[in-house]
């Protein structure tokens, strides 16, 4: 929750709502990119790496930093937890009330 996880922006899902699809270690999920979008068109973010906190891309980072951060998160077991949380959340949303 507190440590972000690196992901690569691969697609824009809603330019108006500043939502994009990020690839986090092979898991694709929607993230908000308002905090990293700046004034440029959101499409410019495709291919960029970002630190993602609870579904919000908070900081642009380079690919090397992304790889190094992912290594530390894996060592701490946090990467696995974060990815599992993404999957579990999808299941919870799909669960009928």
């Amino acid at each position: 929750m507190c440590l972000g996880i690196p992901g690569q922006i691969v697609e824009i899902s809603s330019a108006e709502k500043k939502l994009a699809i990020a690839d986090v270690s092979g898991v694709r999920r929607e993230v908000n990119v308002a905090c990293i979008a700046g004034d440029a068109p959101v499409e410019d973010l495709i291919g960029a790496w970002a630190l993602i906190h609870v579904g919000f891309a908070m900081s642009l980072i380079n690919e090397e930093e992304a790889a190094k951060t992912m290594d530390v998160l894996k060592m701490l077991g946090e990467a696995q937890e974060e990815i599992e949380a993404m999957r579990a959340s999808q299941r919870e949303m799909d669960r009928a009330s």
């Binding site: 440590l3 908000n32 609870v54 919000f56 908070m58 900081s59 946090e78 009330s97």
Partner: protein, 380 residues
């Protein structure tokens, strides 16, 4: 050096450790009279234990593990209120998974869920919003929890809910901020702190300016640090060098991610949505001035405290004492080491936590339990 081979760059690590030992010597610090450095962030606490940095560094250096794990400082009364909300039949209660196992006075959210409350563990407030859209006849409450790394996400989600005029989404806002508890710790006459390793990702949001008072008013060094073991060692060295040189400054070791003025979009969203509460309760630390955030009047429609008349929204918050024998408060302020708590590894384990510091992997006790390498007596 058991862990050194796990470092990305063991040579750099050895070099930094030698430099740290050198400056510790120059400072005249010893095992009996050590330098006390507090790492504020729970992620740093976890990394320090995982990489054994507390053992690799000289005896004259002692890490004090700060109150930087939001789950660990969550008072039991807040957990009780979460359970109360979750047990309302119209409510779908959404929370980060981290909060599920925190003990309340009667039960945790996990137990409430097992008993039938509709509680969904979500990865993001975006998912709570989506649940509200999919369930228009239910009230979706999101448990807003965490420091400045998660406050912007909740703020942006509230703004989004407002723009969609959603009527069935609200936030039980228990967000807290990092600088006020540091000030409270520095004001505590029992606390002996020589310097700080500052949080990386919190600083990515708020920048480094909010820490200025630590150097200016208290004459203590603080270095904002990254999460790799090399980052942490380098930051510790920078703190020690400031001490040796008689400087007290705010330095940024993690400038590859942290801009000095933070993230402007996040800061603007938080200013728009929240205002500081006069005081807020921290588990183990008590009430701390201006340390919690509440939702501003303009977004009151999305404030679960008002909507359901609960928590601080109800008037005076309910204070609940810690469970018998729990020494989380003393551990959090550095008065006790985790293993000095009489319940450590006996009445309190990660499987059956008594105190919150044992719940999360970012809590000092859980980290100590997992990596501390201490010989534990079997549970009674």
């Amino acid at each position: 050096m058991k862990y050194a081979e796990e470092f990305r760059d063991p040579k750099a690590a050895k070099g930094l450790l030698a430099q740290i030992a050198q400056v510790i010597d120059e400072l005249g610090a010893t095992k009996e009279k050590p330098v006390h450095i507090m790492e504020i962030c729970g992620g740093h606490t976890h990394a320090i234990f995982r990489y054994g940095l507390d053992k690799l560094t000289p005896e004259g250096l002692e890490f004090i593990h700060g109150p930087g794990c939001p789950v660990c400082v969550l008072p039991m009364s807040r957990v009780d209120e979460c359970v109360e909300l979750a047990e309302r039949p119209e409510v779908i209660f959404t929370t980060f998974g981290d909060a599920m196992r925190v003990p309340g006075t009667k039960k945790s959210l996990l137990q409430a869920k097992a008993e039938g409350a509709d509680i969904r563990m979500v990865y993001s407030p975006l998912d709570a919003l989506e649940l509200a859209r999919r369930n228009p006849d239910r009230e979706v409450v999101f448990f807003g929890l965490g420091f400045e790394t998660t406050t912007p996400s909740t703020a942006l989600s509230i703004q989004q809910a407002a723009s969609e005029e959603m009527a069935n989404f609200s936030v039980f806002c228990n967000h807290i901020t990092v600088p006020p508890p540091i000030k409270a710790l520095l004001d505590d006459p029992h606390m002996i702190l020589d310097g700080f390793v500052g949080p990386g990702h919190v600083s990515m949001v708020i920048g480094v300016e909010p820490y200025r008072f630590i150097a200016r008013d208290y004459g203590k060094p603080i270095v904002v640090a990254g999460f790799e073991p090399i980052d942490l060692l380098q930051s510790v060295l920078m703190v020690l060098e400031q001490m040796r040189d008689g400087r007290a400054e705010v330095e940024n070791q993690y400038s590859r991610v942290v801009q000095d003025d933070g993230n402007p979009v996040s800061i603007a969203a938080c200013d728009d949505v929240y205002e500081p509460r006069p005081t807020f309760e921290w588990r183990g630390l008590g009430e701390i001035d201006s340390s919690g955030l509440r939702i501003r009047e303009k977004y009151v429609a999305f404030d679960a405290e008002t909507k359901f008349s609960i928590g601080y929204g109800k008037g005076a918050p309910r204070f609940v004492p810690e469970p018998e024998g729990c020494a989380c408060g003393d551990v959090m302020t550095g008065r006790l080491k985790p293993i000095q708590c009489p319940q450590f590894g006996k009445g309190c384990t990660p499987e059956m936590p008594l105190g919150a510091l044992m719940v999360s992997s970012e809590g000092a006790c859980a980290a100590y339990y997992q990596y501390g390498g201490v010989d534990l007596e079997p549970a009674e």
